[in-house]
């Protein structure tokens, strides 16, 4: 489903060239639950951005659902992204002036989904993530866990191919972090593909497939 071959990502910082990704080859199948670990600066986030089509590789090929997306322009990437990718961020990234339900609805609004269809899906997501009572609250009236639940519901609203979570528990206390993780695992149990980037070994080991990165390369790939 996701097939990366020979992916390089080079940043130019002043005169220097920084190799954030070196010859990454990776295949992810539908329904996998995968964690991506490694020290800071090892290229985890860059790899996640490449997989999420936010960043373009400097070299190599990326096929998503059998389609080569390496050469697409920005607008085409945006369209693929909204259909197939769901992001969950460490700092939630909710729009502060919008209510919880408006935040969840946002990807559907951007994709031009019919308003009636939007309402149906919204009602289902609010129920699924236990947010019905909080639907009309703004992010500053929500707890961190609730914010992340809104973010996950938002990521799921377009029925994406893969959920990409970058340190989803990094900004939450341990207990809330567990709850959020449980929600992501539920997505996986229902057949979704989940990729979690984390520092936290305890979280990392819960995934069925564990990748370890060092200096822009995948150094280990364990399955259980």
């Amino acid at each position: 489903m996701i097939r990366l071959s020979g992916i390089e990502r080079v940043f130019h910082v002043g005169e220097e060239e920084v190799h954030a990704l070196r010859g990454v080859n990776l295949e992810i199948e539908r329904g996998e639950y995968l964690s991506l670990m490694g020290p800071s600066g090892s290229g985890k986030s860059t790899l996640l951005n490449v997989v999420g089509l936010l960043d373009r590789p400097s070299a190599g090929h990326y096929a998503l659902d059998g389609r080569d997306v390496t050469g697409l322009d920005d607008d085409a990437l945006s369209r693929v992204r909204r259909e197939k990718i769901g992001f969950v961020f460490q700092f939630f990234h909710l729009v502060a002036r919008l209510t919880a339900e408006q935040n969840i609805e946002l990807p559907m609004v951007l994709a031009g989904v019919d308003p009636a269809e939007r309402r149906t899906r919204l009602a289902r997501l609010l129920a699924e993530y236990g947010l019905e009572a909080r639907a009309r609250h703004r992010p500053d009236q929500l707890s961190g866990g609730q914010c992340q639940r809104v973010a996950i519901a938002r990521a799921m609203s377009m029925g994406p191919t893969v959920i990409l979570a970058d340190e989803p528990t990094g900004n939450l206390d341990r207990h809330t972090g567990q709850e959020v993780l449980a929600l992501l695992e539920r997505v996986h149990h229902e057949g979704g593909t989940v990729v979690v980037v984390t520092h936290d070994l305890e979280i990392g080991v819960r995934a069925h497939r564990r990748l370890r990165m060092v200096d822009g390369a995948i150094v280990s790939d364990e399955r259980s």
Binding site: L54, D75, S78, V95, L110, G112, R154
Partner: protein, 402 residues
């Protein structure tokens, strides 16, 4: 993204940043209000002058003795030199022109007018019965000069309201006798008070039959002939007929100046329109300033909302979506500002109208349309740069910076 959703999103932004929105509304509003108010003052002045000329009479053609190279400048009569006088016979001959409805020859002089011991010097007009209709005069009491052969002198006169009051006091003027120079005239009418109408204050004149004025001032020469054409279209024919007839009568020499009210009107109209446009244009500069303000605010907004824009892109917004959002925001702000400005401008116009009730202040239609359109135009124009900048934001960098 559906257009309605783009608009709704922009509306939420506009509502979300109240202070910023108010500031822009104010700037836009002042710009639009300035254009509307200033141009309505200009238009009011124009209409005022037009009305003043209009009260002179309609379809008016004025014949002056003496030749002037440029229409509008004062002919030789003022310095007392004229090749040949314009006479009553000349004036009557003008009736041959089919384009002429009626005419009134005019002699003007200053006369010592007295009733008993009361005495004052006033302008004395010699004319015919037609003058009343040509000049749109109205009577307060009695009749105007009686119609009849203008060569025949009758000892009657019509006096202005102020003259009547000064000479007769509270007594009734009608039917009384007054003396001008060494002649006696019976007052047959008092003019209604009309006030100043471009140099002629009809309140302070005495009108006598033309033949009487000729005898009084011992002259055959007419001061001018007022001619009324049959219609607006006939003015040009009347003018050329008059010139033709008078050239014939004056041995082929062109010794008169014929000016039409239309020509004078058109000149004033042009000047005042140009003035209105010019001051309106000056006011429009404030709209450009408002546009630049919008641009600045939008640019700041792009910086402030980096996160949000990055997020929207990550969630699948295309560059076009983002640009349209910013345009929609700018247009909403401009529309609000324009509405506010039109309202304030209209209010200002009403206030000035109350202060100067004699001047018909109205915003010209072009200003009412052009000002809001300019506001929206500048808003869109000046939001191009911020919108492009927003659309080009790199989502990774926008999201990573805290």
């Amino acid at each position: 993204m559906r257009p309605a959703d783009t608009l709704a999103f922009a509306w939420q932004v506009v509502r979300g940043y109240r202070a910023r929105t108010l500031l822009i509304l104010l700037a836009m509003g002042i710009g639009v209000a300035a254009v509307v108010a200033v141009s309505s003052i200009g238009e009011g002045a124009r209409l005022y002058v037009m009305n003043q000329f209009g009260s002179l009479g309609t379809h008016l053609v004025i014949v002056l003795p003496g030749r002037s190279e440029t229409a509008g400048s004062m002919p030789g009569v003022l310095i007392g030199k004229t090749p040949r006088d314009l006479t009553l016979e000349d004036a009557l001959a003008l009736k041959r022109s089919p384009a002429v409805r009626r005419l009134a020859p005019l002699i003007v002089g200053a006369g010592d007018v007295s009733v008993g011991a009361r005495n004052r010097e006033t302008p004395v007009l010699g004319s015919t019965a037609e003058l009343m209709d040509i000049r749109h005069m109205e009577m307060a009491q009695g009749q105007f000069l009686p119609p009849g052969d203008p060569r025949h002198s009758l000892p009657v006169c019509v006096v202005g309201a102020k003259v009547a009051a000064e000479l007769f006091g509270t007594r009734r003027a009608l039917g009384e006798w007054l003396r001008i120079g060494d002649r006696r005239f019976r007052v047959v009418g008092v003019l209604a008070s009309q006030g100043e109408s471009l140099g002629f204050n009809t309140d302070e004149i005495v009108i006598v039959p033309l033949a009487a004025a000729q005898a009084l001032f011992n002259t055959e020469a007419l001061f001018r002939v007022l001619v009324e054409a049959k219609s607006r279209e006939q003015i040009a024919y009347a003018q050329s007929d008059i010139e033709e007839i008078l050239r014939e009568r004056h041995d082929g020499k062109r010794e008169v100046t014929v000016i039409t009210q239309d020509a004078v009107l058109a000149t004033f109209d042009r000047i005042l329109r140009a003035l209105t446009l010019a001051v309106g244009g000056l006011a429009a500069i404030s709209l450009a300033v408002a546009g630049i303000l919008i641009m600045n605010v939008m640019l700041i907004s792009v910086t402030q909302r980096r996160h949000e824009i990055g997020l929207l892109k990550a969630l699948g917004a295309t560059g076009r979506n983002i640009r349209l959002m910013f345009f929609a925001e700018a247009v909403l702000l401009a529309l609000g500002g324009a509405a506010l400005g039109l309202a304030v401008g209209k209010l200002g116009q009403l206030v000035i109208g109350q202060l100067f009730p004699s001047i018909p202040f109205t915003a010209p239609w072009w200003a009412v349309i052009a000002a809001p359109l300019t506001a929206i135009g500048t808003a869109v124009l000046f939001s191009v740069a911020p919108a492009r900048r927003a659309a080009r934001l790199d989502p990774v960098r926008a999201l990573s910076k805290r």
